[in-house]
């Protein structure tokens, strides 16, 4: 039978496999064919692993499978896979083959999910458009002239384009939720610590978290079941207090939704606000109560984030120096310091150098307390205000992105305009909370993302609320361009 991968969920794949209507090999072949046909235009993948994926499919076809086994998954190229090229979107790591699998990758493999390829991203996850990749931008499946968001743009676009029903990304300041919004798919950033960061190439260590992209909230929950859990190799990982449930509820009775009016007043595109308000009305229709809340310091989250994040990044990226892995540039007569400078200046792109410079500056003698110290104190206030808000409401709602997808090239030369994409997402990372973005409709033919934020370890609450809304909204995640004529 012909398998239409566009709009096919992981649950849909499992149903086909369970009924033995298709084999694992046929399923993987269908996805590989679609990638072959359309990724030339979109550039979601830095590399695919056709032979390995088909060999894993054959093994499942021979030995038997259960659960999600046999379902393909795309992996952001910042996740280490043993023996397979992992670049974090950077020329400085071109050809780098890690010695081990990331904890989340081990979990994915143990579940029998089949990694189908490594996806494009902003270099070292620094960006909100995937234009900062060292290997060229990814294009939005809804309109190839637009960005897919970032930094996990390749993963978001791959799911929207029918290249994989599931993908993993990472979210340091919105890098899952914002591209999910711009590509019309579901994206979840788990509570800090819920997913092991072992083998995730570090960017902002107190902020980074791995999470799933999916075509449905239920699929996102299934992926969360696979990737979450304590890992002895990541001392900041924790066991979830309760297992992840796959949601099935259809109403929001008894749920109180907080509306952070001061944050929303910071500027939301009219079409995004319209969709957001319509979704809030649907939430009320489903039985939710909507209540205004105050998060006065959250409006300062963006400046605090863009001090803390570069500070952590500048320390983490010191390890790329041409000694242990990746690129080295060395000329006759070089000292080791010359070699470091030559290698790093050539291997890193403009945004990565900007963040390293900013981070080094704000950590340097004389400026530490005025910048980094101040940002860390503001972070405390932001955490406290979330705690206070969650004493009164169950979840908090904002748009996931203040705008829909924007044209490639529009913000690339204006760093702060790019950073402003993260207005509604960075407060969540600063506080270590879980957040989910689900498509709430279209504005000017482009997807809008609706974000729900919950207290630490309230993943089940968020997934349940998102599922009820998703059912009421009835969004079709297949990009308009692909609906006519297939």
């Amino acid at each position: 039978m012909t398998i239409e991968t566009l709009g096919l969920t992981a649950e849909g794949c499992v149903a086909l496999l369970d009924a033995r209507e298709v084999s694992c090999r046929e399923l993987i072949e269908a996805y590989l064919e679609r990638i072959e046909a359309h990724d030339g235009e979109l550039h979601c993948f830095l590399h695919t692993r056709a032979e390995l994926a088909l060999a894993e499919a054959d093994r499942l076809d021979r030995d038997g499978r259960s659960g999600l086994a046999g379902v393909p998954i795309a992996l952001k190229d910042i996740l280490c896979v043993r023996g397979e090229e992992t670049t974090a979107g950077s020329r400085i790591l071109e050809g780098h083959r890690p010695l081990y699998d990331a904890g989340a990758v081990t979990n994915v493999k143990n579940a029998g999910l089949i990694p189908i390829g490594k996806t494009n991203m902003d270099e070292f996850a620094m960006g909100s458009s995937t234009e900062h990749s060292g290997f060229g931008p990814t294009h939005n499946p809804w309109d190839p002239e637009l960005v897919p968001g970032g930094s996990s743009g390749g993963s978001a676009a791959a799911v929207a384009a029918g290249f994989a029903p599931l993908a993993l990304g990472t979210d340091t300041g919105g890098s899952i939720r914002q591209p999910a919004a711009l590509c019309g798919v579901v994206g979840m950033k788990p509570t800090y610590g819920a997913v092991s960061r072992h083998g995730l190439i570090a960017f902002g260590s107190s902020l980074d978290q791995i999470g799933p992209f999916a075509l449905s909230v239920r699929d996102a929950a299934l992926a969360m079941q696979v990737i979450t859990g304590l890992d002895p190799c990541d001392a900041t990982s924790v066991a979830l207090p309760e297992p992840i449930d796959v949601p099935s509820n259809e109403d929001l009775r008894g749920v109180t939704i907080g509306l952070p009016t001061d944050l929303l007043a910071q500027g939301v595109e009219a079409g995004v606000r319209e969709s957001f308000d319509a979704t809030l009305q649907q939430a009320r229709d489903l039985g939710a109560e909507v209540r205004e809340i105050a998060l006065p310091t959250a409006v300062h989250a963006l400046p605090a984030y863009y001090l803390i994040n570069p500070a952590e990044a500048s320390a983490n990226l010191a390890r790329f120096d041409g000694v242990r892995y990746g690129l080295r540039l060395e000329e006759a007569g070089d000292t080791v310091t010359d070699m470091y400078g030559r290698t790093r200046s050539h291997g890193f792109g403009a945004e990565v150098k900007r963040r390293i410079m900013l981070g080094t500056y704000v950590l340097s003698a004389g400026y530490y307390d005025a910048y980094y110290g101040t940002a860390q104190r503001a972070r405390t206030l932001i955490r406290r205000e979330f705690d206070q808000a969650f004493a009164d409401v169950d979840v908090i709602a904002t748009p996931a992105s203040p705008t829909v997808a924007f044209p490639i090239g529009d913000r690339i030369d204006d760093p702060w305009a790019m950073y402003a994409c993260d207005l509604f997402t960075v407060p969540v990372n600063l506080a270590g909370l879980p957040g989910i973005s689900l498509p709430s409709g279209l504005s000017e033919g482009l997807p809008v993302g609706f974000q729900l934020i919950g207290p630490a370890f309230s993943e089940n609450r968020l997934l349940a609320a998102a599922h009820a809304l998703e059912s009421a909204i009835g969004f079709d995640p297949v990009p308009l361009a692909y609906r006519v004529g297939g």
Binding site: D321, R328, D334, D338
Partner: protein, 94 residues
């Protein structure tokens, strides 16, 4: 706060980056712009507010004090740009 070319060169040296003249000029302008945007933080009353380094309060996570094998040296050095005699090779320090 304006970041001068000298500031940029000083920080670049700390960060082991060699920047071209054009990069120094652009960095000076862009870093000044970004730091202008973060000035807003100075309006917050942060006296007596402790800093947050980490969102979750986890302390003293230890693993079992049990020996386990390290990575095989050959495999680790295979990924290095240059190695000799079982060691990473680098240019002279001066």
């Amino acid at each position: 706060m304006a970041i001068s070319s000298d500031d940029v060169l000083h920080v670049a040296a700390l960060a082991n980056l060699s920047l071209s003249e054009e990069e120094v000029a652009r960095m000076s302008e862009q870093l000044s712009g970004i730091l202008g945007h973060v000035e807003a933080l100075q309006s917050l009353d942060l006296e007596d507010v402790p800093p947050t380094a980490h969102a979750l309060d986890i302390e003293n996570v230890t693993r079992a004090d049990a020996p386990r094998p390290s990575w095989p040296r050959d495999e680790v050095l295979d990924g290095a740009p240059a190695a000799r005699d079982g060691l990473f090779r680098v240019p002279p320090t001066s």
